[in-house]
């Protein structure tokens, strides 16, 4: 956005008033000037016309008796008038009966005036009243009638010196009046702008005080009882309301910050406890040639957990990949419950000779969860549980046994991908069947095997151009591309594929991926 240069409203107001006044004054003075000029001209012509008519009457006898000497003598009296340059009596358009030319005129001027008069008569009717004016001369002609009959025309030629003098004099007066009026208007406009802008500046300063100095005690006192007083009262009320709201908000923010601080500390500590449930990564080393683990709770704590236990000897181990209800704190609570049940199960196995059956273990989890969370009761409000895979491995016997609630297990044997679908039954939850028997799968590992156990946080992650879930089909394609790589590289590829697909989309859920090479 363009930053416009700042112009104060006081400057704008003075400029606006002065400009309007100047335009109005100029138009008025031009009108007065034109009117005065026209009036002077009319007066002058009228004066000459009267002189002409009087002279015509006085010369009637001289013309009638053809006494041009007498007429000349009468015309000579015009020398008393300073502005009259010449006068003529014409019998017709061409014939001059008598004439007077001011002694102030030289012969060139006399010829000019005479020619000018003849030219005027040439184009006009000599028997009618004629008025003509140019820059230097005024010409007035009247017919002389005797007993109603035309006998001659009397014309009088005056210079325009008087008009010019009047013009200059009036121009100077008008100019000074114009300037004086303009100055008065500017002084008044300064006074007016101060009257109107002073309260606005008061408001401006008050607003700056509030916005820059955060002074919510700022108040504006009105000097007059006008619309500005209403504005000021409104401002004062608004600021006092903001002050009250800000105080309340600050108090509430302080309380929220305190609660947030306590909650954060509490969740951080919970995260510490939850991560203590996660096995030491080095414990995998004893059983697997290569492996990788990705464990990313969506928040500080999460509903995903993986558990790994050594069993009765150095050959037996068990891995559980658990995705509990939801994520965050509720999910983390369920993981604690799962861990507690798992500890009991492991202890029981360690003190028995029974064959470890992941399917049966899932059933034990199911009944235990339902029992602890009182989900056998149809009125129970607790509807928590988990989906997950339990994988038992006997290194000496080269046997891998696994069972799964909902989440699939992927493994490569002889370079061929096998996808073992999880049973369509979750662990716990109100509507799960407590009598359900999970399917157990056994695989011989003597020829080697690469296994992947994931939670749905991976394939359900939204992303891509259409923001659709990653999906199991895409996952299988990726596994086909990477399964022969080292497990460390495969971990990197899993993470990279997840981030690339997710792009800027929010992480949907907790994420756990475990890869094992046997």
């Amino acid at each position: 956005m363009l930053n416009k240069k700042f112009h104060s409203i006081s400057t704008k107001l003075v400029l606006l008033i002065s400009l309007s006044a100047t335009i109005a004054l100029t138009l008025s003075f031009v009108a007065i000037f034109i009117y005065t000029l026209q009036q002077n001209k009319t007066d002058r012509i009228e004066s000459l016309s009267i002189t002409s008519k009087i002279m015509g009457q006085n010369l009637l006898a001289a013309i009638d008796f053809d006494d041009s000497m007498g007429a000349d003598s009468t015309l000579q009296t015009l020398s008393l008038a300073q502005n009259i340059e010449a006068a003529f009596i014409f019998r017709d358009e061409k014939t001059i009966f008598s004439s007077y030319v001011s002694s102030r005129e030289d012969s060139k001027s006399r010829d000019y005036i005479q020619n000018m008069v003849k030219n005027i008569y040439k184009n006009r009717d000599i028997k009618k009243n004629i008025e003509y004016i140019n820059f230097d001369h005024i010409f007035v002609s009247n017919p002389i009638l005797f007993e109603g009959k035309y006998i001659a025309s009397f014309c009088i030629v005056s210079n325009t010196n008087k008009l010019k003098e009047n013009f200059i004099g009036e121009s100077i007066v008008l100019f000074f009046v114009f300037i004086s009026t303009l100055l008065i208007i500017i002084i008044f406009s300064l006074k007016i702008q101060k009257t109107f802008t002073s309260p606005i500046f008061q408001m401006k300063e008050a607003f700056e005080d509030v916005s820059l100095n955060k002074n919510f005690n700022a108040k504006i006192v009105a000097k007059n009882n006008d619309e500005f007083k209403i504005l000021f009262d409104g401002f004062n009320y608004m600021i006092s309301t903001i002050k009250e709201s800000t105080t309340e908000l600050e108090k509430a923010k302080k309380e929220v910050d305190e609660i947030h601080k306590k909650t954060k500390a509490s969740i951080e500590y919970a995260a510490l406890i939850q991560s203590s449930l996660v096995p030491d990564i080095n414990s995998f080393r004893k059983y697997f040639d290569e492996y990788f683990v990705i464990w990313h709770p969506k928040d500080l704590v999460g509903g995903d957990i993986y558990l790994f236990e050594e069993l009765r000897n150095d050959d037996e181990c068990i891995l559980m990949v658990i995705d509990c209800t939801g994520h965050g704190v509720p999910g983390a609570f369920v993981t604690m419950l799962v861990k507690a049940i798992e500890r009991q199960i492991i202890e029981r196995i360690k003190h028995s000779d029974e064959v470890v059956s992941p399917a049966k273990l899932l059933s034990v989890f199911n009944s235990s969860m339902k029992h602890i969370l009182k989900q056998e009761d149809s009125m129970s409000i607790s509807n928590a549980g988990f989906d997950g895979q339990i994988i038992y491995y006997n290194k000496r016997e080269n046997i891998l046994r696994f069972a799964s609630a909902r989440n699939d297990i992927f493994y490569y044997k002889n370079d061929e991908l096998h996808v073992v679908k999880g049973d369509r039954q979750s662990i716990g939850y109100k509507d799960s069947n407590i009598e359900y028997t999970f399917t157990e799968h056994t695989v011989d590992t003597s020829d080697g095997l690469t296994l992947y156990a994931l939670t749905d946080g991976f394939w359900d992650q939204n992303g891509g151009e259409k923001e659709l879930p990653y999906g199991k089909r895409r996952l299988k394609r990726m596994l086909n591309d990477i399964h022969n790589e080292s497990m460390a590289d495969q971990q990197e590829e899993f993470l990279y594929a997840f981030e690339m697909y997710r792009n800027h989309h929010e992480v949907n859920d907790d994420l756990t991926v475990i890869g094992l090479k046997l």
Binding site: Q274, S275, V278, I281, R285, A488
Partner: protein, 126 residues
């Protein structure tokens, strides 16, 4: 100039970390190692002022490597990169001023911020 040692058992991860560092406008030289033992050998040969290490590695893992490096230098900048969000391990290094954590996959902006922090640390040290 930053002398960086990148330690990761994943060839792909090392390559990506190095490419990320090279995309920054920070003067640097990079050495890489495949595990803790390899890293210690590289560290003995050249003075590094930043070690970026994975935690889970064969032979000598990240935790063991950091312990050995701390015996050499208390003020060496170390960035731990891990795919397991283990709060217990974070807690172990909470009081260590020059040890930082980044979750895998590396967030480019976070890594750049840590590199600049290390650069400032070196400048102040000099």
């Amino acid at each position: 100039m930053l002398n960086i040692l990148v330690v990761d058992d994943s060839k792909v991860a090392r390559k990506r970390t190095i490419a990320t560092i090279e995309s920054f406008n920070i003067e640097h030289s990079i050495t890489h190692a495949i595990d803790g033992e390899d890293a210690l050998k590289a560290f003995a040969l050249k003075k590094h002022n930043l070690v970026i290490t994975d935690l889970e590695m064969p032979n000598m893992d990240g935790l063991e490597l950091i312990a050995k490096l701390r015996e050499i230098s208390k003020e060496l900048d170390i960035i731990i990169i891990t795919a397991v969000a283990n709060e217990q391990i974070k807690q172990l290094f909470k009081s260590e001023r020059y040890t930082s954590f980044i979750r895998k996959p590396i967030d480019t902006k976070v890594l750049e911020a840590y590199l600049l922090k290390t650069q400032n640390h070196i400048l102040k040290g000099n």
